[in-house]
Amino acid sequence: MSGPKTLFEKIWDSHVVEERDDGTCLLYIDRHLVHEVTSPQAFEGLRQSGRRVRRPEATLAVPDHNVPTTDRSRGIAEETSRIQVETLARNCEEFGIELFDMTDPRQGIVHVIGPEQGFTLPGTVIVCGDSHTSTHGAFGALAFGIGTSEVEHVLATQTLLQKRPKTMRILVEGELGFGVTAKDVILAIIGTIGTAGGTGHVIEYAGSVIRGLSMEGRMTVCNMSIEAGARAGLVAPDEKTFAYLRGRPRAPKGALWEQAVAYWRSLPSDPGARYDREVRLDAADIEPVVTWGTSPEDVVPITGRVPDPRAEPDERRRAKMERALAYMGLEPGTPMEEIRIDKVFLGSCTNARIEDLRLAADILKRTGGKVAEGVQAMVVPGSGLVKLQAEEEGLDRIFKDAGFEWREPGCSMCLGMNPDRLKPGERCASTSNRNFEGRQGKGGRTHLLSPPMAVAAALTGRLTDVRRLLAS
């Protein structure tokens, strides 16, 4: 079997412990991230069956979904949230797993801290009980989300039973226009292939646009692979990847670093490697986009209008559109730029890294604008370290001076498990990844967009083309 291989095949093949006749593989898991929401029942299961954690040192835990983003010195007020976070701490203590607790400066969203710590490495298999684990694929790691039973399985055995997925390559070629970010690229991809487009596949993102993205941008793209139905997304590791990882606390050091890099250089897909499916996008066709509906595939360029279900020939799709528009409180034909918003959320594992905050702050610097009257805008950094770095660079001042709230790190209003939620009917410009009904709070209405576009919306109180804002 020495034909040309894809990046995915190289990682997969090097992690098969055993293959069954039906093709299901027992796959070795190198790294396991754990958070408070999907782990309590897994630890409970271990305890009930008297099992231990096989490799505690290959496991890292952090509370992120439930933590408050305001002053933490007095703990968590909401009882159920507090119990989950305390349960995680107790479980980590009992099973010998390292935990970054709520007061640790390294605490943050699980998918932000993995790369930040150098816990995420190319060529590895990484799992976490969270669907956005796909984020780590930006490093050329096979990273995917798992359910709680699988969390328990990995804790106990350091392996998982998996069926080999199919492969898909998405090429984005050309040059991105002014004001177009990684978020627009991935939203455009999802708009093209749909939320089930990647089902059963691992997507490898390639082409000049992807190569040109920073590590942060690649993470944004891989993060939303799950929104395209794929469990994992991958980008081939390159010099940018190595430069990002060098010197990180858990990245290899010295001779081991050299040895690792030599191996990592062999990972990119071989010329002539075959994919089950290929999709190609031209960067010139990608504009800053926003979502209008309740699925991440409901995208439209900011210059466009709310679509009209009557123009949809498929009956089921039409019904779905009507339902989405009713939930979103939108009229067909309304120019997207006329839609007023109540809240702006700059955060989440999609867009709360240092580069996202820099891009957002840059818009504020260039326009000198202030958050519009009646709009509540908040920045929730992805981790304590992102927050510290942003403060060192003076970004917090820029945000605060413009009227943004500057919060403590966590998932926050991405899913509203902590007190940060939309009220029924409130409309939010959000840099997160899901616009499902009720995602950001019951009855809340979410428009997904990029960090610069979120700032533009905050300044005008409406969804706004950031390019036009900068030009004026």
């Binding site: 412990v17 055993e18 039906d22 299901t24 027992l26 070795y28 190198d30 929401v37 999907t38 309590p40 029942q41 409970e44 069956s49 099992r51 040192e57 979904h65 439930n66 159920t80 119990i83 349960t87 490495l121 060529g123 009980g129 969270d130 669907s131 684990t133 989300g145 798992i146 359910g147 709680t148 039973s149 699988e150 399985h153 106990a156 055995t157 350091q158 392996t159 039973l161 939320t195 089930a196 089902t199 139905g229 469990r231 606390p249 290899p252 081991l256 040895q259 690792a260 191996y263 089921r316 779905k320 509203g416 498990m417 029924p424 899901r434 499902f436 009904e437 009720g438 995602r439 019951k442």
Partner: protein, 207 residues
């Protein structure tokens, strides 16, 4: 895990596509540290109105579907998050089998791990079953995993379904994945020994 052999019960039709995990169980229910009790929040936003009262139009609030053990749904059921709270909520409500033209990957996996049987059938067949579930006086179906057949209330020809042999074996016997894997401990240890040599940076102490 409870074995799954034959299931006889009411089937409820839910002709929605792309039902996501947030719809199956909203985020506020994720704060539990147990597996049980989530049935009360199943399809909360569809089942209950703003004021907390039941929405009489929703299928699971209508007789006889309140007692449904089988759910017949549209494409891409269970998309969204990896949270296992979705199958737990279904299970706690009493659902042990879901029939759909397609499922989201992780959800599909999670069903098997919790003793729920997800059956994939061509869209036409799903629609046929949905109609029967809708119209039959007593919409009782029997799902026989042993013979891989769905017996219908109309008494018409049972519908056959496919399932991976290993999954079927585990469901039939209520086998727990972890126990099965731990039987392979020697292979896991051998793999680890190999990886220590080929990728020592993944095993460096002191991190």
């Amino acid at each position: 895990m409870q074995p799954f052999t034959t299931l006889t019960g009411i089937a409820a039709p839910l002709p929605l596509v792309n039902v996501d995990t947030d719809q199956i169980i909203p985020a506020k229910w994720l704060k539990t540290i147990r597996r049980t009790g989530l049935g009360a929040g199943l399809f909360e936003s569809l089942r209950f109105r703003e004021d907390g009262s039941e929405n009489p139009d929703f299928v699971l609030n209508r007789e006889p579907y309140r007692r449904a053990k089988i759910l017949i749904v549209g494409e891409n059921f269970g998309c969204g998050s990896s949270r296992e709270h979705a199958p737990w909520a279904l299970l706690d409500f009493g659902i042990r089998c879901i029939i759909a033209p397609s499922f989201a990957d992780i959800f599909h996996n999670n069903c098997f791990k919790n003793g729920i049987l997800p059956i994939v059938l061509p869209r036409e067949q799903v629609e046929l079953l949905m109609k029967e579930a809708e119209n039959a006086a007593e919409p009782v179906f029997t799902v026989d995993l042993e013979s891989q057949l769905i017996h219908r209330p109309s008494g018409n020809e049972p519908i056959a379904f496919e399932i991976e042999p290993f999954r079927r074996h585990c469901l039939l016997n209520g086998l727990d994945d972890i126990g099965l894997t731990l039987e392979k401990l020697a292979a896991i240890e051998a793999f680890e020994q190999r990886q220590r040599l080929t990728m020592p940076w993944l095993w460096a102490q002191g991190r």
